[in-house]
Amino acid sequence: MKARVHVTLKNGVLDPQGAAVRHSLRALGFDGVEKVRQGKIIEMELTETDAAKAEEQVKAMCEKLLANTVIEDYAVEIL
C-alpha cells in the first residue's frame, strides 16, 4: 500500500521561499501569479494492507517526525 504526505506551511506563516519563486515567475512573464506557497511531498510504500490502519500509522509518523506542527500542516493520502 502506498501513502503520500503533503507537508505545507500553515496559513499565516511567512514563506520567503514561496515569495522568491513568485518573484522569479513574474520575472519570466507569468504575471497572473498572486501567491506561491512551497511545501513538500513524501511518498512511502507500506506493508500495511488495511487503508484505515495505514492512514492512522502515517498520521502518527507526521506528528512524530514528518511535519513540525508548530509551523506546518500535513495531509495524508492512501493510494
Binding site: 511567512l14 520567503p16 522568491a20 513540525n68 508548530v70 509551523i71
Partner: protein, 225 residues
C-alpha cells in the same frame, strides 16, 4: 565541571565546543564526546552541549532527524531532571525539534546564508549561562546559518518575554527573527538555545574572547567536586 558534547553526522562545531568547555573545566576534566547512536549518557554530567553544524545534512528540516536520534531521548530525560543543556546554532534547532525549547528556526527572511560577527544584547542575567554579565551588556559573537529566523506564535512570544526567558537579542537583526530573538531559555532556565557561536570567539588567536564569558558563567555556577 563535567561536560559532554553530543556528535551527530554533520556536526562541525563539536570540537570547538569541547575546547571551550575544557578551558573552563579545570584539572583533567576532559569534555566527553558522545556519539548520537549511544542510548545513555556518561554518569555525573553537569552540562551537555549540542553543537553547531549540519546534522544529517539538514535533511527533512534542520535538526529534525538529530532530535529523534537515540541519544536525544537521554538528553531530554537529563534536561527534564534539571540538567543543564546548551544548544548552539544547529544545536538550537535540535533543541526546538526535540521539544525542549518552544518555537522553530525558519529559513532566514532574506533567503541568504549569513556568516558574520553580530552584536548581541544580553537580555537576562538570570541563568547560569549569562550570570557573569550585566543586563543590557552588548557582546559580539559570530553567526553562520541559513535557518536562524526564530518563529513562534504570539502566545509563546508573550510567555518568553513575560517569564524573562529571552536570553539574547540581536542589535541588528541578520535573519528576520521575531522580536530580534537570538537565544532563549527553557521554563526552568536550565536549557539555553542560541544561534550565535560563543565557542568561535573564545581565544585571542581567534580574534576575540567575547564568547568566553558564557563558558566562564557556566563553570562558575557549576562548581563540582
Amino acid at each position: 565541571m563535567r561536560a559532554a558534547v553530543i556528535q551527530f553526522p554533520g556536526s562541525n562545531c563539536d570540537r570547538d565546543l569541547a575546547v571551550a568547555f575544557d578551558k573552563v573545566s579545570g584539572h583533567n576534566k576532559q569534555t566527553q564526546m558522545v556519539w548520537h547512536k549511544e542510548s545513555s549518557l556518561p554518569q555525573g554530567l553537569d552540562v551537555i552541549g549540542i553543537p553547531g553544524g549540519f546534522s544529517f545534512g539538514d535533511y527533512l528540516r534542520c535538526g529534525a532527524i538529530a532530535a529523534r536520534s537515540p541519544i536525544m531521548r537521554s538528553v531530554v530525560d537529563f534536561a527534564n531532571k534539571g540538567g543543564y543543556v546548551v544548544g548552539i546554532c544547529n544545536g538550537f534547532q535540535v533543541l526546538t525539534e526535540s521539544g525542549l525549547l518552544p518555537g522553530v528556526l525558519m529559513r532566514n527572511a532574506q533567503l541568504k546564508f549569513v556568516c558574520k560577527d553580530v552584536g548581541l544584547k544580553v537580555e537576562t542575567t538570570d541563568s547560569i549561562f549569562t550570570n557573569e554579565h550585566k543586563k543590557g551588556d552588548v557582546v559580539t559573537y559570530p553567526v553562520a546559518h541559513h535557518e536562524g529566523n526564530y518563529t513562534a506564535d504570539a502566545e509563546t512570544l508573550k510567555t518568553l518575554h513575560g517569564e524573562d526567558r529571552v536570553a539574547y537579542t540581536y542589535t541588528n537583526n541578520p535573519n528576520g527573527a521575531m522580536d530580534d530573538i537570538a537565544g532563549i531559555l527553557s521554563e526552568n532556565r536550565r536549557v539555553l538555545g542560541m544561534m550565535p557561536h560563543p565557542e568561535r570567539l573564545n581565544d585571542p588567536e581567534l580574534g576575540g574572547v567575547d564568547g568566553s564569558k558564557l563558558f566562564e558563567s557556566i563553570a562558575g555556577s557549576l562548581v563540582s567536586a
